[in-house]
């Protein structure tokens, strides 16, 4: 369940070891560049780059499918909307719908572009633990501290939320099973009835979450946590020469794609 939520696939590939800031910058740059060129040749370059990156990450290919599955409906919708509504010379007409080669071409282009985008994005989330990703965002968002955005506190909040999701999921599961054994029924009836059926689950879950939060706050203070005071990290972010290579390669891909 955790895997589905956070998408991290533990490993030791060059991409796993890369600095999360470099990965984040590279992926953002590729995503933006991907959407600024409308040629099939450029798309092929980005698709090749995405496939290469995915191979480099040594994540099993079925994880690419897992990343794509939840957004298939979006890709499908994009495809049909383009096929049916894009302007062009129709070669086939069904009722109010007209199919054109231009429409098909555009629909294929946009759908493939979405797939490439998701593959490139998933390389980032599959090779970077969520906390490292948060650290990268906090570092990149440092200028915002001037604007009094509490970036360190936000990072810690994300860490704690991720830490407690599995705990609360187990708790939710236990409570639901206990109430089901007492005759609760969560799967029949209209929306109102179903919402009411959840009361015996949500009340205990909130109570236990508040108690956990309360005790956690105390335990954090007991370990000298003081909000607003600068912290150091066991694993500080370290840029290495390999990260420069990653950024240069990314730039190269974008340049190639812009000239083909």
């Amino acid at each position: 369940m955790k895997a589905a939520l956070t998408q991290y696939y533990p490993g030791d590939s060059p991409l796993h070891r890369a600095d999360p800031r470099a990965k984040f910058v590279a992926v953002t740059a590729l995503a933006v560049a991907l959407f600024t060129r409308d040629s099939f040749a450029a798309l092929a370059v980005y698709a090749a780059a995405g496939a290469l990156a995915f191979a480099l990450s040594r994540v099993p290919p079925r994880w690419a499918w897992r990343a794509l599955k939840p957004v298939l409906w979006l890709i499908g919708l994009t495809f049909f909307a383009q096929v049916l509504f894009a302007p062009g010379e129709p070669f086939f007409t069904v009722g109010p719908f007209e199919l054109s080669w231009e429409g098909l071409r555009l629909a294929g282009f946009l759908s493939v572009r979405l797939v490439v985008l998701i593959i490139i994005g998933s390389v980032l989330t599959l090779t970077t633990p969520p906390v490292a990703l948060t650290d990268a965002l906090v570092w990149l968002g440092r200028p915002l501290r001037r604007l009094r955005v509490p970036s360190d506190e936000l990072a810690l909040m994300v860490t704690i939320a991720l830490r407690f999701i599995p705990t609360l999921l187990v708790e939710l599961d236990t409570i639901m099973r206990a109430q089901r054994a007492r005759g609760a029924d969560f799967s029949t009836g209209g929306p109102l009835r179903r919402a009411r059926a959840l009361v015996p689950v949500m009340v205990p879950l909130f109570v236990v979450s508040f108690r956990r939060a309360d005790e956690l706050a105390l335990a954090m203070e007991a370990r000298c946590y003081t909000p607003g005071v600068a912290r150091t990290r066991l694993h500080p972010l370290h840029a290495r020469p390999a990260d420069a290579v990653l950024l240069v390669l990314t730039a190269a891909v974008i340049v190639v794609a812009s000239v083909v």
Partner: protein, 586 residues
């Protein structure tokens, strides 16, 4: 005598909105290098004291309050005290913040702004000394309770401390986790650390040099452990838990056969008993008058006969049968076998202890029996009816299940409403629901008149658990499945719950009790079913089934069986309770 590291004089603390002080003029000193145990019932102020010592709460008033030279009466002093005094809390789950073990251990040092290489070095040192090296990259939710608590302890001590305060550190742990943690504490103590351990378990008191008993926020007793144990009145009033060896000694004393001193372990008891007990003129740890009090006091602790829960005539128990059950969990695409070819029979009205190490399949088996999980293969029969048959559906409803920490399921605004949830879902008419609620609450010792209107969350932990049990009993189950019902209860609450379960067994309800606690199982259940790695490794009556496993298997023998063996008696005739043991030994 070493210098005092903690001095409290006339210390008061009151929670906002409370009508009395949680700490009322507390006086306490702790010497450097000393191990102090703090005992007392719920609400006596033990946990408040732990927070105050750690600089985590602001005293309402006080003449003097210092810890490691920091003035706890000032904000700056409390902030400084947090660096010197470490506090470990009860629930390990609520103390871990980071995504992996090693980052959690480092959390305190990160907060103090140590340089990364120094954090690395100190974290590695802590991981090594608490045996966590192999778990450093493990996520907290994948750890066992004992591993979580050791991680939390390593995190507390990563910041170099002069004093360690432990607030009921083993209350949420199983027996193995408890032993691991106490070993760690013993080592720290031997290393010269000052330790304050808040506890309700008397055998944990035994590791301290000195014990302080609190009641209603002030000190009722301050002295050596043996002196406290001799004060039976106080031990009872403070709701402390005595190990079985101590219970036997008290019961012996009540029969006019006092031992020279109060034993806390089986070894001690054997030695003291074989030494022939106390002689004329021995300095007794228990006066004879107290002994008689103690003996008499044992009687009401046995379940008092419930004043006729009449509306529900005792229903006959249900028989349960499993044949070649197999079940596998799906973990990230890989099947993990939890049960394999499990076959057994539970006669109607029998009480069966389901024993086995963590992960042996106990919880899974209970859920399959209740029909909450569908077995991949095999059959389950309720009263001889295969569960998939349609006429088994009403029988399925008569199998009650109490999950671990069942108080989690409490949600209604009053006790009676919560207990009524199940019966109402069964569609019973109002008067039947009311009768069922009243009978169930009576049965668990929370009479409707007194507890019906109270909010579930205002009850103590033990009362909440019994209320949750009432919610299951109100549905009038003929078979009851319990998953670790004693975990994280204080000793007195454990006794109360055991008494309720004994009453159910007596009434003829079929009971299947999954537990780590072999002694609780021994006193309640007539048969055992031992699982290991999802397979049945022993089943049937105690003795025949368990002898083969003793020592080598996943099971240590019950206290009384081992006692009888050590005393050279016939283990087949070992007693079930301390009173029975004393009767045979006196």
């Amino acid at each position: 005598m070493n210098a005092d590291v903690v001095t409290l004089e006339k210390l008061h603390f009151r929670y906002p909105g409370a009508d009395r002080d949680a700490l009322a003029g507390l006086e306490l000193t702790v010497a450097e290098g000393e191990t102090l145990a703090v005992v007392g019932p719920n609400g006596s102020g033990k946990s408040t004291l732990a927070c105050l010592l750690g600089g985590l709460a602001r005293p309402s008033a006080g003449r003097l309050a210092t810890a490691c030279g920091c003035d706890l009466l000032t904000a700056a002093g409390r902030q400084a005290a947090r660096r010197e005094v470490g506090v470990l809390f009860q629930d390990p789950e609520n103390q871990l913040v980071a995504e992996h073990v090693e980052e959690d251990v480092a959390f305190g040092l990160e907060n103090l702004g140590w340089a990364p290489p120094a954090i690395r070095e100190r974290t590695d040192e802590m991981l090594a000394s608490f045996g966590l090296e192999d778990l450093r990259r493990r996520e907290p939710h994948l750890l066992s309770g004992g591993q979580k608590q050791r991680t939390a302890l390593a995190g507390v001590l990563a910041i170099p401390r002069r004093v360690l305060v432990l607030d009921e550190p083993t209350a949420m742990l199983d027996a193995d986790g408890r032993d691991e943690l106490l070993d760690a504490v013993r080592q720290l103590r031997a290393g010269g650390l000052t330790v304050v351990i808040v506890t309700q378990e008397m055998d944990e008191v035994g590791i301290a040099d000195r014990v302080v008993a609190l009641e209603r926020g002030s000190v009722q007793f301050d002295g050596a452990c043996e002196e406290l144990f001799a004060r039976r009145d106080l031990v009872r009033r403070l709701r402390l838990g005595l190990p079985l060896a101590g219970e036997v000694a008290l019961a012996l004393a009540a029969r006019g056969r006092p031992l020279r001193r109060l034993p806390l372990t089986l070894e001690d008891l054997v030695v003291e008993y074989e030494a022939g007990g106390a002689e004329e003129g021995d300095q007794l740890w228990l006066t004879v008058g107290e002994a008689h009090d103690a003996g008499e006091a044992r009687v009401p602790e046995e379940p008092p006969a419930p004043p006729s829960p009449s509306p529900s005539p005792a229903q006959p128990g249900m028989s349960l049968r499993c044949e070649d059950l197999s079940f596998a969990y799906d973990e990230g695409g890989r099947p993990v076998q939890a049960l394999q070819d499990v076959s057994f029979t539970v006669e109607a009205g029998a009480s069966v202890a389901l024993l086995g190490p963590s992960g042996s399949g106990k919880s899974t088996l209970l859920q399959v029996l209740r029909g909450l999980l569908e077995p991949a293969q095999g059959r389950v029969e309720l009263d001889g009816v295969e569960r998939r048959e349609s006429r088994a559906a009403p029988l399925q409803r008569e199998v009650g299940v109490v999950f671990q920490t069942p108080e989690l399921q409490l949600f209604a605004a009053s006790g009676a409403q919560d207990v009524a949830f199940g019966p109402r879902r069964l569609g019973w008419p109002d008067d039947v629901v009311e009768a069922a609620v009243e009978a169930a609450m009576e049965l668990v010792g929370l009479p409707l008149a007194e507890f019906g209107e109270r909010h579930p969350y205002s009850l103590s932990g033990g009362e909440q658990r019994r209320l949750a049990l009432a919610g299951v009993l109100a549905m009038r189950p003929r078979a009851l499945l319990l998953d670790e019902p004693f975990v994280s209860l204080d000793p007195a609450s454990r006794r109360d719950l055991a008494a309720v379960l004994a009453r159910l067994v007596e009434r003829g309800t079929t009971v299947v009790l999954a537990t780590h606690d072999v002694d609780a199982a021994w006193s309640l259940c007539c048969e055992v079913l031992v699982l290991d790695g999802g397979r049945v490794v022993a089943a049937g009556r105690w003795g025949a089934a368990t002898d083969a496993l003793a020592g080598a298997g996943p099971l240590s023998p019950p206290f009384f069986v081992e006692l009888w063996r050590r005393l050279g008696r016939d283990a087949a005739e070992a007693p079930r309770t301390a009173a029975q043991a004393a009767e045979a030994l006196a």
